[in-house]
């Protein structure tokens, strides 16, 4: 027994990093930890505190979240827009990712370029571009009218349609990346085997390929849904005040009606939902890989 312990300690001494030296590395971590604690986590906690204490201490603001009709409408609008956006983004993203996954290398890099350019494009510039395209004197309407396809301009901005187009466009690249990661992980010989055993292309896709991409689909659905919940810029610019989502509503409560408690309660609720969804997501996929570490 004693010799074992002795051997254990001597072995540990051979390793150059002992406990004493490990302490040094906490000094490395300290600045970033303090920075985030003071400038981010405490402020977040303050929001939570305001939601419980303004105008009076108690859960009143949270009760209001459930029985205020205006809030109910905003939450329903948000959920509707987010769900539609998520479904469209993942369907379009799946088609793009599939095309990338089966493309030869050169075609693949062309497609990746098409995915990454908008990925890196400012959300404001994109919203502006969609206004240019969709408004009544916009590019699409003048194009259609010059051909006589329509006589009066289609109304595509300042309504939910415009918001949806802008949001789907923003989210598609975020759907493509996890989907592509799961498709690239599929062993090509599985498809070859399925083909060799007599399955047609469609059957191989439905029975082999698609089931193997389920984790990717799940990750894409949650990731897109989380990100759309807090959307701010696109709904305001393309919705023109007619489609108020949670983020815009919080802003109005803060800047116009000055109901800080209510705004904070709504923000806290939004954060809790997002964190719960992230928890579900991280169980299915490596978060760091997905959030653009590559």
């Amino acid at each position: 027994m004693a010799t074992e312990v002795a051997a254990g300690t001597s072995r540990r001494k051979l390793l150059p990093i002992g406990n004493r030296q490990d302490q040094v590395y906490w000094l490395f971590v300290l600045p970033v930890l303090l920075c985030l604690l003071v400038f981010f986590l405490l402020p977040l906690f303050q929001v939570f505190w305001i939601s419980l204490s303004d105008p009076a201490v108690g859960p009143d603001n949270y009760i209001k979240l459930f029985d205020n009709r205006a809030i109910k409408r905003v939450v329903l609008t948000t959920l509707r827009i987010c769900t539609i956006t998520t479904v469209f983004s993942v369907v379009i993203g799946y088609m793009i990712a599939f095309t990338v996954a089966i493309a030869p290398p050169r075609t693949r890099s062309m497609l990746m370029f098409a995915i990454l350019v908008p990925f890196w494009m400012s959300v404001l510039v994109r919203a502006f571009a969609w206004v240019t395209l969709l408004r009544s004197e916009g590019v699409i309407n003048s194009f259609l009218m010059s051909f006589g396809a329509i006589s009066t301009p289609l109304s595509m901005t300042n309504n939910e349609f415009g918001v949806l187009v802008g949001m789907v466009h923003y989210m598609v690249p975020y759907a493509v990346l996890p989907l592509l990661a799961s498709m690239d992980g599929i062993n090509p010989s599985l498809i070859a085997a399925s083909r060799g055993l007599g399955a047609g292309p469609v059957q191989s896709f439905v029975k082999i390929f698609m089931p193997l991409t389920k984790p990717g689909i799940f990750a894409a659905l949650i990731l897109v849904f989380i990100m759309t919940l807090g959307f701010f810029v696109t709904p305001i610019i393309l919705g023109g005040g007619n489609t108020v989502m949670i983020a815009e509503y919080i802003t109005v409560q803060m800047q116009q009606t000055l109901r800080w408690g209510l705004a904070s309660a709504l923000a806290t609720a939004l954060l809790v939902v997002v964190l719960l969804l992230i928890g579900a997501l991280s169980r299915s996929m490596d978060m760091r890989k997905m959030l653009g570490g590559g």
Binding site: Y25, W26, V29, L36, L41, T99, T132, V139
Partner: protein, 264 residues
């Protein structure tokens, strides 16, 4: 490579994929030509090209000031995020405990929290700290939002780093600080640079938090674009947008180039 063989359904699927890719590129296809229109209103150029909107952009002190402010803020925020984030990522990697891993996840919070919630939090805290509408306030907020990107890229680099190199340096008498500067930092430089570019872009692009914590004095480029879109839509915004696309693409290309060199 995955091969489904020839089939009309697969061809249709591919066609839809390409259509999706075109949909993604559509806004850039539009905004770049619009910036060269000869008209004073938003339109595709139909009577030749003109640089008048770029001339307007580069002679207008409002836009120039906004570009300058954005560059200054993004560079300083990126420096702050890179220094603290890199140190933190190296420290956590070296500590390598479960508690450290939870701390790392906690440090990704600014990326996970919806921008509107961060904006609310920053606003209320900046009132207390007296940082509203100040350079220092915006730089700190942007740095905090950028730290997760640095943590992610540096941690990824470190996962490919042979920890024994650092142990050898320590055994040969280097202290933790020297080992970091002489051994770790040179090896993970691509990850640090990648994090720096991402941090720069995070600040360069930031709008929601900036809108909340600034008023008159701070006018970043995204804020100027925001005002431009809401007040008077004119092709100068398209010229600014084109410029933003070009700068963002350049930064992304630098990052990809560095990555491919690091991989080679």
């Amino acid at each position: 490579m995955i091969d489904f063989g020839r089939s009309s359904s697969i061809s249709v699927a591919k066609l839809l994929g390409w259509a999706g890719a075109l949909f993604l590129l559509l806004p850039s296809f539009v905004i770049i030509p619009v910036s060269f229109t000869t008209h004073h209103y938003l339109s595709l150029p139909d009577e030749g090209l003109s640089l008048r909107h770029y001339q307007n952009l580069f002679s207008n002190p409002l836009w120039l000031g906004a570009i300058g402010q954005s560059l200054l803020i993004a560079v300083l925020a990126a420096i702050l995020a890179v220094i603290t984030g890199t140190l933190g990522a190296i420290g956590l990697w070296r500590i390598a405990s479960r508690f450290g891993d939870s701390l790392r996840n906690l440090m990704l919070m600014p990326l996970i929290v919806p921008p509107i919630v961060s904006a609310l939090a920053f606003y209320k805290a900046w009132v207390v700290f007296g940082l509203l509408d100040s350079y220092v306030g915006v730089i700190i907020a942007h740095a905090v939002l950028a730290i997760p990107y640095v943590i992610i890229t540096v941690t990824t680099s470190l996962s490919n780093f042979d920890g024994r190199l650092e142990q050898a340096a320590r055994n040969l008498g280097a202290n933790a600080w020297e080992a970091m500067w002489l051994i770790i930092v040179p090896v993970i430089r691509p990850g640090i640079l990648s994090g720096a570019v991402l941090a720069f872009l995070a600040s360069w692009d930031e709008i929601v938090v900036t809108l909340f914590i600034s008023s008159q004095k701070i006018m970043t480029l995204p804020k100027a674009i925001w005002n431009g879109i809401r007040d008077n839509i004119d092709p100068t915004v398209a010229a600014v947008g084109t410029l933003v696309i070009v700068i963002t693409l350049a930064a992304t290309c630098i990052r990809l180039y560095r990555q491919s060199r690091a991989a080679a």
